[in-house]
């Protein structure tokens, strides 16, 4: 049975690779990247064997703890680690729970992250190769450590899935959980700054971690090396107990999730209230804009992007406080303009097959494009202008405002035009409606990245005129260049937006059925 589950996992991987060569390329790149990391890691670990004992021990314990933590946290945010063997899908088969768990654990170890983690953990034996007993115990502990990583990650995923089975909760929770993660950088920095105050605190931190569930198992081999067999036994016990506890927790949560059907919460408004549909013009383009606006505010896949609008300046303000230079705050306007405008570079993909309504009603491409661009523009333009004004107020550099506005508006409008064309051309794999906004279909990362980069490069070329003029203005402090950049940005932006809607509309008219076919393939 266990072998069946593992075979199923490999078969699923193979079939997903057969579907498109891009997935294979993505896997190869992922594998190469992982291999590189692994070589570096192994060399580093072996090199530690010549380092002072305290130093080697600190490094291994901190690294090991970070590894366990990473396995717990990363799947929660960026579900790139595929949950292919979803226990919920195996519910109809009479698989004994213990075998199910073993099968899922082993298949979890067979992905790229799992293999890298396993080999990397085994490489800690290299750190203690001069002490055969230590090396052997390192191998044993590495196996337990890796199992802890996988089981912990699965247990937390399973628990969080259960916690968030209500739709509203899941959607709001996903977005709210996102905020501290974006702010993770500042949080870590403030934490480490206080640590750096006493720069010898790292061994202390390692010592503290060595008695916690995430660090204990990585400490035991070094205890063996230093001859503290009592401490080694205790650390090993803590580590093993952690694994057992996580195992039981995971089993319990799977049991629960298999027997309890997810409940859904419903929400109802007055049927007469049509929201944006009664505000915007009653035309096809107006309807598309109203629909898009509704989605921007109601669908977490879109609102995830909007959350970035306040977070980006907040990040910059924080970093500028550390770096003593406030100049980077001014970047937030253009950056938000850029992020928002390219957020819809494959807008149609987010429609999924609901897009067939657009095809079957025979809406004109230009109206579809105009509606989508207008919806985003009506949110993004005020945001960007406020951010520009706010950031020059914060940095007290009012003289750069025209140039900054020119650049930001230019980026936003040109980006909208560009996205209008690209989203009529390409469909990429995105989270399906109702899925977690952080879920990414396996293999999607690479192709999406490639098309995104291409879009960004084109956008950069489009905004080059106002970019160069604004930069000259910033460098020379000549206000006149700022004003030129403003005129250029607004004028070129409007032209590109209009051309983009036109061209995108024509592409759409020609290719709408092909777009729909592409979307069907992703379901």
């Amino acid at each position: 049975m266990v072998a069946h589950l593992v075979k199923l996992r490999l078969l699923l991987l193979k079939n997903s690779l057969m579907r498109s060569p891009w997935q294979l390329i993505a896997l190869i790149f992922g594998g190469l990247y992982g291999l590189g990391m692994l070589v570096l890691l192994t060399v580093g670990l072996v090199a530690l064997s010549w380092a002072p004992f305290q130093f080697a021990r600190t490094a291994v314990v901190l690294g090991g703890s970070a590894l366990v933590l990473g396995w717990i946290v990363i799947p929660l945010i960026a579900t790139g680690i595929d949950q292919i063997l979803d226990p919920a899908k195996l519910i109809t088969f009479p698989i004994p729970r213990r075998q199910l768990l073993i099968g899922l654990t082993l298949s979890g170890a067979l992905g790229i992250p799992g293999i890298i983690t396993t080999l990397g953990a085994l490489a800690t034996a290299g750190t203690w190769w001069q002490h055969p007993l230590g090396a052997i115990s390192a191998l044993v502990c590495a196996v337990i450590g890796v199992l802890t990583c996988i089981v912990a990650s699965r247990a937390v995923l399973s628990l969080s899935a259960k916690l968030s089975s209500g739709r509203r909760f899941r959607e709001v929770g996903g977005i709210v959980a996102f905020i501290p993660l974006v702010l993770l950088g500042p949080i870590v920095i403030s934490a480490t700054q206080s640590i750096r105050g006493a720069s010898d605190a790292l061994p202390g931190l390692a010592r503290a971690l060595s008695w916690t569930p995430i660090g204990a198992i990585w400490t035991a081999p070094s205890d063996v090396v230093s001859g503290e067999f009592g401490a080694a036994g205790l650390h090993f016990l803590i580590g093993a107990a952690t694994l057992v506890a996580l195992w039981l927790l995971w089993g319990w949560s799977i049991e629960r999730s298999l027997s309890a059907a997810p409940h859904t919460a419903t929400r109802s408004t007055n049927a007469g209230k049509l929201g944006f549909f009664s505000v915007l013009p009653a035309s096809p383009a107006g309807a598309v804009a109203a629909r898009s606006l509704t989605y921007w505010l109601r669908d977490p896949r879109y609102s995830r992007t909007l959350i970035m609008v306040p977070l980006i300046p907040a990040l910059f303000v924080f970093y500028s406080a550390i770096g003593r230079s406030t100049g980077m705050v001014n970047v937030s306007g253009p950056l938000v303009a850029f992020l928002l405008s390219v957020a819809i570079f494959s807008d149609v993909s987010y429609d999924s097959t609901a897009f067939s309504l657009h095809v079957s009603t025979g809406i004109r491409g230009a109206a579809d494009r105009l509606g989508r661009a207008t919806a985003l523009g009506s949110i993004a333009l005020p945001c960007v202008i406020v951010l520009c004004i706010g950031s020059v107020w914060f940095t007290a550099s009012w003289s750069i405002l025209p140039g900054l506005l020119g650049l930001s508006v230019g980026v936003l409008l040109s980006g909208l035009g560009l996205s209008s064309v690209t989203s009529a051309r390409v469909t990429v794999a995105v989270p399906a409606p109702g899925d977690s906004p952080f879920k990414s279909p396996p293999g999607a990362g690479f192709t999406t990245m490639l098309t995104s980069f291409a879009t960004w490069a084109i956008l950069f070329v489009l905004v080059l005129p106002e970019f160069i003029v604004a930069m000259i203005g910033f460098a020379t402090d000549q206000v006149i260049f700022g004003w030129i950049a403003l005129v250029l940005g607004v004028a070129l932006g409007c032209v590109f937006a209009a051309v983009g809607v036109r061209v995108g509309g024509r592409v759409f008219d020609r290719r709408a059925p092909e777009l729909l076919a592409g979307l069907r393939k992703q379901v």
Binding site: R167, T264, T266, R267, S268, T269, N270, A271, G272, K273, L274, G275, F277, A282, S283, P284, G286, A287, V288, A290, R291, T294, Y295, R298, D299, D351, S352, T353, A354, S356, L357, H358, V359, S360, T361, G362, I363, R364, A432, P433, G434, P513, E514, L516, A517, R520, V523
Partner: protein, 262 residues
Amino acid sequence: MSQTEANLPTHGAAALSIRGLTKAYGDKLAVDNIDLDVPVGSFYGLVGPNGAGKTTTLSMATGLLRPNGGQALIHGVDVWQHPLEAKRLVGVLSDGVKLFDRLTGAQLVTYAGLLDGMSRETVAERVGDLLELFDLAAAGGTLVVDYSAGMTKKVALACALIHAPRLLVLDEPFESVDPVSAANIRDILDGYVRSGGTVIVSSHVMDLVERMCDHVAVIASGRVLAAGTIDEVRGESTLENRFVDLVGGRRHGEGPEWLRTS
């Protein structure tokens, strides 16, 4: 072929006329050179086993899927030459596609109407009528994502009807719809046909097609095996038996030994 010929309208254009439609995925022919005529004012059933090419055919006939070859005319308008004009004449209910389910039921139907380019007043009036007609008035303010399967089907049908099309193409309209709703939908469709509209439904529930439709076409492996009025196709037998005869694949016997419990 004689059955198809018997069915050709003697005058004017058919509501839907398909000539040589073909679609291949890779080297697999999903739809193989299909000819079909749906007379104006008929209630036309399209039956076939799973994977027979029903959905593919209907998608190509309504402009959702580009065929490799062939032609589809809706009231004489070529769907792939003049897509906008053709799509104005037809209302489509696709099977297995998502809806914009973050909209409320009322918003979704309004959206469909506005996309068709109708005025706000007309849309508002028809949305009210349609929600009433489909017993969705109370749920008009609920997000479609929270609808049951049957309600979702009904709201999708309302979207297909809002621009008062002359031809309705419904792919599996009764799947996962409860009996009461199904009966109501049938009444609505009957009324629509009596008033001069044309309906095409695909289904694999033979009883339903036999009771509801006046014409039927049997499709399997991307080909039309028989087409005509219900009586012409079923002859002396029932539609289900005739269907099984045509399609083949009926097993005789009681299954393997171990499956017999007594």
